[in-house]
Subunit: 434 residues, 2 copies
């Protein structure tokens, strides 16, 4: 009998896990709380996540190792390579400055990816496989990990139940292995915690984030398409601040998705006086008001959600042979290394490497799967904790430091890069005076 692997969560990490399992011939079922994001009737969802993300070597390696020949090519074709970071600042004489810093002397890049697009590519890949079934609008409500059973409630709206006394439709399923990839507020982890003795810690940092957009420029006939970008598309743009930060990541349509990170007290004072937002930006993020009109800046700040940042550590990640959690469900981290989703994709690669190494010629027995999952928890916990700590420490240092923004930015980059890539080079230039 083939192994039945149930994946909870159809985000990028869950979808990649399903792909790895399907490539190994498992009967794969994917259960997702939300509706199919590829369905045109699906209302665009607020995922409480950044729209754009930076795909790094960790994530790329995990997709390269999926066994799907063209997956990486499909994914990267929809991304924009970022050869480094561009640090924005202001010279003593008041001119806007840019300090470009390339990531890698070998020319390896980060890739600016659209989260939704990456997710769709992975789901499309799965759709073509006969041993994969999708179950959208399914909410995990219970699990018995001793008997390999789980219960899902079926809904046809994403919103909360509307009427009194509704009877929710519930299904019971069984499985050999459940992979919980359902995010920071994971239901799989919640049920795992009833079986495994999880040490678990979650912390909200005192920083919120809010999204902005730098719109594409109008392109005139005969101009290069790349001239749509208001600033260089091949960099992750950073405006460092003492207590806060503004970043911009390019999108294929010529826009940039921007994120403001701000301590809650600063945020509150801006909320109380939105008219001060443009001057706040002018003081701390030089040049941004020439990329986003002040009125748009204020409108975005007022209408877009101000979202929290959570850091999660736990261990172990599994129970017996029945369940393992990966991605944000296992180790949600603050975004100051940009490694959250990449670490989740890497979980998938490491998990299946460990499972493969415990399978002899035959498929895994429950006993050998239990050993493999214990090995995975053992192997993966210190790595995940380390990167989680680095992200938090970096945040703390950014907040606590009183030295110059430029120095801090450089230090931050040095540390960041040493995590992102083992080797890297510096290339410094000043361009684009305001």
């Amino acid at each position: 009998m083939r192994q039945k692997t149930v994946v909870v969560g159809a985000g990028p990490v869950g979808a990649l896990a399903a792909l790895y399992a399907a490539q190994r011939g498992h009967d794969v079922e994917i259960y997702e709380l939300r509706s199919d994001l590829r369905d045109p009737s699906t209302t665009p969802l607020m995922f409480s996540r950044s729209i754009n993300l930076a795909l790094s070597e960790r994530g790329i390696h995990a997709m390269r190792s999926s066994g799907k020949q063209d997956l990486l090519q499909k994914v990267t074709s929809e991304t924009i390579p970022m050869r480094g970071r561009m640090i924005h600042g202001k010279s003593p004489s008041g001119q806007f400055t840019e300090l470009a810093q390339d990531y890698d002397i070998l020319g390896r890049s980060l890739y600016a990816a659209d989260r939704g697009g990456l997710n769709k590519t992975l789901l499309d890949e799965l759709e073509s496989m006969p041993n994969v079934k999708f179950f959208f609008n399914h909410k995990l409500t219970g699990a018995d990990f001793k008997h390999h059973k789980a219960w899902f409630e079926i809904s046809h709206t994403v919103s909360l139940k509307e009427s009194t006394g509704t009877r929710a439709r519930e299904v019971e399923i069984d499985f050999d292995l459940m992979i919980g990839a359902d995010g920071a507020h994971s239901a799989a982890r919640y049920h795992l915690m009833k079986y495994a003795r999880l040490d678990y810690q979650q912390t909200y940092i005192d920083t919120l984030w809010c999204e902005f957009t730098i719109e594409p420029k109008a392109v005139q006939t005969g101009q290069e398409p790349s001239s749509r970008f208001a600033i260089s598309p091949n960099y992750l743009h950073i405006w460092p601040g003492k207590d806060f930060m503004f970043i911009a990541i390019p999108s294929l349509d010529g826009s940039f998705t921007c994120t403001l990170f701000l301590p809650s007290s600063h945020l509150l004072s801006l909320e109380n006086d939105p008219s001060s937002i443009p001057s706040f930006f002018d003081t701390h993020f030089p040049g941004v008001t020439s990329l986003i009109p002040p009125s748009t800046l204020t409108a975005s700040f007022t209408s877009n959600p101000h979202l929290p940042l959570i850091s999660i550590k736990c261990q172990p990640y599994h129970y017996a042979d029945a369940v393992v959690i990966i991605g944000d469900a296992a180790h949600a981290m603050v975004p100051f290394y940009g490694q959250g989703m990449n670490a989740g994709l890497e979980d998938v690669r490491v998990l299946f490497e460990v499972l493969d190494s415990h399978a002899s010629a035959a498929p895994l027995t429950p006993e050998s799967r239990a050993k493999a999952l214990a090995c995975y928890s053992h192997l993966r916990t210190p790595d995940a904790h380390a990167i989680n700590d680095l992200a938090l420490e970096n945040y703390t240092e950014m907040r606590a430091s009183v030295i110059s923004p430029l120095y801090k930015a450089r230090k931050w980059l040095e540390e960041t890069i040493s995590v992102w890539f083992p080797s890297f080079g510096w290339q410094t230039k000043y361009s684009r005076a305001g």
Copy 2:
């Protein structure tokens, strides 16, 4: 309109909270996952909790302040006052020793209470109030704390769902305030965490516990009923060990409920060689094999569950005006101070004191209730964290210390007593030589 207060969890802490709310004229609804423990058809449940517990001044004060004149009398009539602790050991010459230590020069006692009996007394008290409704077999499955709604699944068995494709019956309710008193694995807290930015930490310590019983002695005609007790009923009996501990708490029927605390590695070695259990007891817990026959000791160890100990800290305890968690849901602690349930009962008293102080002449408005809950979180968190830390530190010290068991026991008692009572006295005597 009267305030509707929904209490999740009908254990002692939830029941007392319901009583406080009902005394204030709220419409009270109590939702409990399990069936009514007073129902004779209810199968005795494994609560994964000790049957007996020590009621201390914290808990007693909370019941005294309930506004129910005779509640405390009803509760204490079913308890056994313990004037102190009895430390069991062995003299250098090999004689069994007992060191009695009274808690309080004022004569205040701890009370050995049956958890089920205490719970029943509180539920009976509630049953007589017209503004209280019970909903047993109701499992909290969802909550919308912005709109004051919650969903419960109704089951008629405690066990997991049996059949495929069952439709669970679900009800929607609304409320002004939800009080989550549903224990260490609280569903109320799980849903609260989707709304409030909870810092949350749980840790399992490397010690498990297992329950034993010292049976009553046969009473002959003309003998005092108290002669049923094999050892003095008016003490909490302790056999301290370097890495472990054995305690005995009296029950009204003349028996003692005993608990063995043991690191998992020790436990495993005993599990692997159950025949070594009596000699293990003889070495570490002198005299116990004369109170529990060796065969019974071995049988109890083998058949009774070996249960984990969890320590939980979080903050805040509330969200807006809608929900607050109390008891183990907010601060489950290791039992080395015996204050877990007492702190939970104290939560109820403090919570309603704070709510009362925020109500002017009129009932609480949502705004003033939100302020009161914020005040409660602020006030209660440091106290709960402190007692939680003390319990954990004490466990760590017990484990790490290499000094004599008697010294450690004394130190442990000193610290414990300073928590339990502000003033205390020592009374030392040696009695009952083996």
